[in-house]
């Protein structure tokens, strides 16, 4: 596998977290949460590192990472866009909004634009159903979004 090119400081920090978790396989999911927080995503090198620290096989780590949708193996865009696809948003037109984002950015769900600026993902219910359909860009929440608002939202980040 590829040489580890991870920033040494973060590697140390992750090792420290794993130690606090007792270097024990039962805490794997907490370790992966911490790793994703640190590195932004979970590339193969990070998975190997976690496997070593938590005393489980790399295959086991890979199995867990791919099982849970919260864990991602590709870096997110600078401005990660999430479209809520919960039922409440769906019946209020979230699909049309998603289509607009896909069309404007020319990427699919789960992908990042080539310039690394935007990525699109779907999530299931942020719990702001009163504002449906809901879109989040980074930490900012947009409520009652319509297809024609999409262009304007993207402009804010260009």
């Amino acid at each position: 596998m590829a040489d580890i090119k991870l920033p040494a400081g973060k590697v140390e920090e992750l090792k420290e977290v794993c130690k606090k978790l007792g270097n024990e396989g039962g805490e794997l999911i907490n370790a992966l949460h911490a790793a994703q927080e640190l590195f932004g995503y979970l590339p193969a090198e990070v998975q190997e590192l976690v496997a070593n620290e938590m005393n489980v096989s790399v295959a086991h780590v890979y199995g867990v990472v791919t099982f849970y949708s919260f864990f991602s193996m590709i870096p997110k865009g600078e401005h990660p866009i999430s479209i809520c696809m919960g039922t409440a948003c769906y019946v209020r037109g979230a699909e049309k909004v998603l289509d607009e984002f896909k069309r404007h950015l020319d990427v699919k769900v789960g992908e990042t634009t080539p310039d690394g600026k935007f990525s699109i993902s779907c999530l299931r219910c942020v719990g702001a159903c009163g504002l449906a359909p809901v879109v989040t860009v980074g930490d900012k929440v947009y409520g009652r979004v319509a297809a024609e608002d999409v262009k304007g939202i993207l402009e804010e980040y260009k």
Binding site: G26, Y90, R92, R124, A146, E148
Partner: protein, 597 residues
């Protein structure tokens, strides 16, 4: 708390925070200081008030004035008018849609009239980050009573007699579950709170954790005493950062007060709680998957028995209950089984919290006695259908539930009645749909969810649901045949009968219930290649009626792909090749000139 004359309660739930709730709190603080009122007025961030549609909500105490749709800029007027001059800010009061009168207290609003708040008793009343406020409302009194006055058997008997059933979906009698866990002998037992809330469009559990975290901690400790467990674990979705942070604060405060930890109330009973995070897998709401996930494994379910109560976390007896189930416990202990069982229907006692959403006027979090009818929920509390459209269906039970229709509106809601109509209680999501929703597409939407969330362990669910999805997709493309309908029904039944866990066993419900209740709609797709609701893109197009179009150009300006052409004051035309069927023009046209064909 006593030293302040006035309190301003600002909703700090996720929904209101998303619409600048935090800025409102800050601005209020600033204006209060400018008016030198900081020793008289306290601003409190509470949990969800429930009336999310009209959020952000601000409530003035003691006079209970209820301001809706408040913006940060309104802070000045609230302070200068309401607090300084003692005059209500009329324009921020709720307007009754029927009488057009301003209503200033929540108890007089249609949205609140039929509600009884047990599980949500503290949401919107207290500051969830301050344990003293919880204690001031009898918090931890139930734990004290159980530890000092009752044996575990006696406490369990109260819960059994109350008739409380699990609010996580299954409806298993809670007291009975506790008793089973109590009877198993083991060195270590665990108490788990299931806060995975995977049903998309449901936010009951999250609102309880955000608004009243101590209620859940107290109930878990009571459960620990009853079952003989000294460790509690809360499995919570990582997507709920606010709930997580409030829980962490609550756990620390409870430890400081000696309400969690060693030797609670000097009784020798020890109990502590830790958090475990989910990572976005719906199936982890199922209790055996949840336990595997807490053990650091892939969250795949295993066959029951053994039930977690016998062999769960690390092979030890583990009592799993839902957040809302827990939130009911302290009140039941204090008020008694008889009081609780006097509310509700014969077999379903107490209340149920629903997240009412979709095409209904008052989206929000509601709590009603079991036995309330769907009509009362949707029309009296929910204020009817948005934009004067016609009611079509209501979906309960999320991806495991079904779509009910007009004829079910007067059935009293309880576990057994909903099951009998082909849906289920589920965790409490309730999505209202109107005439514009296509039921075949709705079934497809849920199957899309199931296919994505199936863990893949067993074939009927992994492969069967995918095939169901493909068939539904074919129908929405107008390519379905009569044979597909038969196949759809047969395969649904096979998946229900042969899947390993509850996910697969219920996943065909949205298909079966829509086929049963909206048979004509399925037939229209198959026989006539038509989507009566005009939702299926392949089966419809937007057309401008030349006689009605006055050439205002609004539609051509909103069209994102410039598919609409036409000169000012001349009828416009939509190019069907370019149109992406986003419907933007349809929604904007003020003259009803655009129709769906």
């Amino acid at each position: 708390m006593a030293k302040y004359k006035n309190h301003i309660l600002v909703c700090g739930g996720t929904g209101c925070r998303a619409s600048q709730g935090e800025e409102i709190v800050q601005n209020l603080g600033k204006v209060i200081e400018e008016n030198s009122l900081e020793n008289e007025v306290q601003v409190v961030r509470t949990g969800c008030f429930g009336f999310c549609e009209k959020g952000p909500v601000v409530k003035m105490v003691p006079d209970n004035t209820f301001y809706v749709q408040v913006t940060p800029e309104d802070a000045t007027e609230i302070v200068s008018e309401h607090l300084v001059k003692g005059r209500k800010v009329e324009r921020l009061l709720y307007t009754d849609p029927e009488t057009q009168e301003r209503v200033s207290e929540s108890k007089d609003m249609g949205f609140y009239k039929k509600q009884i708040r047990i599980a949500l008793r503290n949401c919107g009343f207290i500051n969830p980050e301050n344990i003293d406020e919880y204690i001031a409302r009898d918090g931890y009194a139930a734990l004290g009573k159980v530890l000092t006055e009752l044996t575990p058997e006696e406490a369990i008997k109260v819960i059994i007699d109350s008739g409380l059933r699990g609010r996580g979906g299954g409806g298993f009698p809670t007291g009975l579950k506790w008793d089973i866990t109590r009877k198993v002998e083991a060195e270590q037992k665990y108490v788990v709170c299931n806060a995975d809330e995977g049903d998309p469009g449901a936010f009951m559990d999250r609102s309880i954790l955000e608004g009243d975290p101590h209620a859940v901690l107290e109930a878990m400790a009571i459960n620990g005493y009853c079952t003989g467990a000294s460790k509690g674990l809360i499995y919570i979705r990582a997507e709920y950062p606010l709930a997580i942070s409030r829980l962490k604060i609550a756990i620390n405060q409870a430890r400081e007060y000696g309400l969690l930890g060693e030797d609670i109330f000097g009784t020798g009973f020890s109990f502590d709680v830790e958090l475990r995070y989910g990572a976005g897998a719906f199936v982890c709401g199922e209790e055996t998957s949840l336990i595997h996930s807490m053990e650091g494994l892939r969250g795949e379910p295993t066959v029951k028995p053994p039930f977690p109560s016998e062999s769960g976390y690390k092979g030890m007896p583990t009592n799993v209950n839902n957040v809302e189930t827990y939130a009911n416990i302290p009140v039941i202990i204090l008020e008694g089984a008889e009081w609780f069982s006097s509310i509700g229907t014969e077999k379903s006692k107490g209340t149920k919290v629903f997240a009412l959403a979709g095409k209904v006027n008052n989206v929000g979090l509601i709590e009603v006695p079991m036995g309330t009818s769907l009509r009362e929920v949707i029309f009296d509390i929910g204020g009817g259908i948005k934009d004067g459209k016609k009611f079509k269906a209501v979906q309960t039970g999320g991806p495991s539930g079904g779509c009910l229709t007009e004829k079910h509106l007067d059935i009293p809601i309880d576990y057994d009645n909903l099951l009998a109509c082909g849906s289920m209680m589920g965790s409490g999501g309730m999505i209202v749909m109107d005439e514009d929703d296509c039921m075949v597409s709705v079934a497809k939407f849920y199957l899309d969810f199931t296919v994505e969330e199936s863990c893949g362990k067993c074939a009927p669910c992994r492969i069967g649901n995918k095939r169901l999805y493909e068939m539904l997709d074919k129908l929405t493309e107008g390519k379905g045949t009569e044979e597909d309908l038969t196949l759809l029904r047969n395969l649904s039944n096979v998946i229900k009968d042969t899947s390993l866990c509850g996910l697969g066993q219920t996943s065909p419900n949205p298909v079966l219930s829509t086929m049963e209740n909206f048979a004509d709609e399925y037939e229209a797709h198959v026989r006539h290649g038509k989507c009566p609701a005009g939702q299926c893109k392949s089966l419809m197009q937007y057309v401008i009626e030349a006689e009605k179009c006055i050439g205002c150009t609004l539609c051509s300006r909103v069209c994102p792909v410039d598919a609409i052409t036409g000169d000012k004051k001349e009828p416009h035309l939509i190019s069907q090749e370019t149109c992406i069927k986003c419907g933007a023009c349809y929604e904007k046209c003020k003259f009803g000139a655009i129709s769906i064909q």
